[in-house]
Symmetry: C2
Subunit: 270 residues, 2 copies
């Protein structure tokens, strides 16, 4: 299997690319093609919008590529997502797109456009403590659809998103249909007051209220409030589910960490 | 004129209340009634939702109150805004509601409900450097509709919002109709990458695209990016206006500072 790595938001570290390449070589069941665009830098981004878009469009249109693996999160895939989905080449279909965090903008828009996407670990995760396991998990899904990589409690069609990313794609052309979806949500590096505010936004959205249930992944690296917020992320999540009438499905095994599991967006079709 | 102060989000500092009371006494043209709820604390908030809602409902229903002045921003007015607007008492109409920042959730919902609202300085601003001038400006608008307090370039119906607050009320029951509105937006204490992401959300919203133009207030206390973002807030704003076809109307004289001007939401009716 041929897997192409592109970076629609921030640059990939060279040492991460090398470490993932070593893992792939040791496995011997796939080939990794890291696009040189991954190492471009322009301010915050892995090159200008035009370069990130061109690299993504190139691998989407390449019939020899069976999976497109987003290099890392950060910020910026939303800036090219709509353009990436314009006039889709035939070769864009029939391959898998995988990533999480900021890549959720692409997962959402691609899923909406009928492409096959999955939430899951990314190459840059290899630099995390225990990150090699996360990378192997992603490869096990991409290469052989190993069911042991999946989040363990998925029910019916599922989606997974970072909370802030999901909030920022509501009402945009990237927003998919959440009707009946097992919706897994995680967050990282935000204040709890901000998480409460973003959950207000989500829970007050008619489209989110059509989800089958919401489940709470890990909320990592919570920034300190100047005054203690007073509750925790579970109470916040339960509160907004209760207020909005959305079913709360308990915890989910996803997050910005090496334990992050795989969530294919179209599980019922497998 | 009788002005009631309530705190729908975070607690008011005692010294701020005292300083504003002293200003009001010296003016002699109005009476300030600071609701005791302003000094409650529960975690992050000025008392539990129930207490903040009850105080707000009380002053809204009080026919002797001619203006309701939100004590300060922070976070939390969205948690009570919908309930505050249910079964509006007759006395809620015919008075002015004033504040900014987090209070924008209330301004939005109240304006949508036909109440008379204005963006402008709040009591807690008195503790800012030069904050007494801001407080006098707010009082000059509330008490005598002094046109010199207004943002200087308002065209037709106008609204003003904090960017993050506006993003989080899109698609919720609080969202007003932006059609033909001169929309002024400011931001504070965010990373530029986050501002870019939030502007994507705004500019991709069909309802925001109905505004007459967007204008950029001050973007204060920008949090450092680990890598320099690469552009500034003006470039971000211009970029998203250009991408979305919304007219960019230049800078606006609002912000989280003592210079913050008044923006009545229904100016054409005056």
């Amino acid at each position: 299997m041929r897997i192409a790595v592109v970076a629609p938001s921030c640059p990939l570290k060279r040492e991460a690319a090398d470490a993932v390449q070593a893992i792939v070589t040791a496995r011997g069941d796939c080939e990794l093609v890291v696009h040189p665009q991954c190492f471009l830098t322009e301010g915050h981004f892995a090159g200008p919008d035009s370069a990130r878009l061109a690299a993504l469009r190139e691998v989407m249109a390449d019939a020899s590529v069976e999976a497109v693996w987003f290099a890392r999160g950060g910020y910026g895939s939303n800036r090219i997502a709509e353009a990436a989905l314009t006039d889709l080449p035939a070769a864009a279909r029939g391959k898998l797109y995988m990533g999480y965090s900021d890549a959720g903008f692409l997962l959402a828009g691609m899923h909406k456009a009928g492409l096959d996407v999955a939430w899951g670990p990314m190459p840059q995760d290899v630099v995390r403590d225990g990150g090699d396991v996360a990378v192997q998990r992603a490869l096990d899904w991409m290469v052989r659809r190993d069911a042991s990589t999946l989040e363990g409690e998925l029910q019916g069609p599922a989606m997974a998103f970072n909370l802030t990313v999901l909030s920022n794609l509501l009402g945009t052309p990237l927003e998919p249909d959440f009707t009946g979806v097992d919706l897994l949500i995680e967050e990282v590096s935000e204040h709890l007051y901000s998480t409460d505010r973003t959950m207000f936004h989500l829970a007050s959205s008619a489209s989110i209220r059509r989800a089958a249930r919401l489940r709470l992944g890990r909320v990592g690296d919570i920034l300190p409030n100047d005054v203690e917020f007073g509750t925790d992320e579970v109470a916040i999540f339960e509160d907004w589910c209760r207020r909005s009438g959305i079913a709360y499905g308990g915890r989910a095994d996803i997050g910005h960490d090496a334990r992050n599991k795989v969530v294919p967006f179209q599980r019922e079709t497998r």
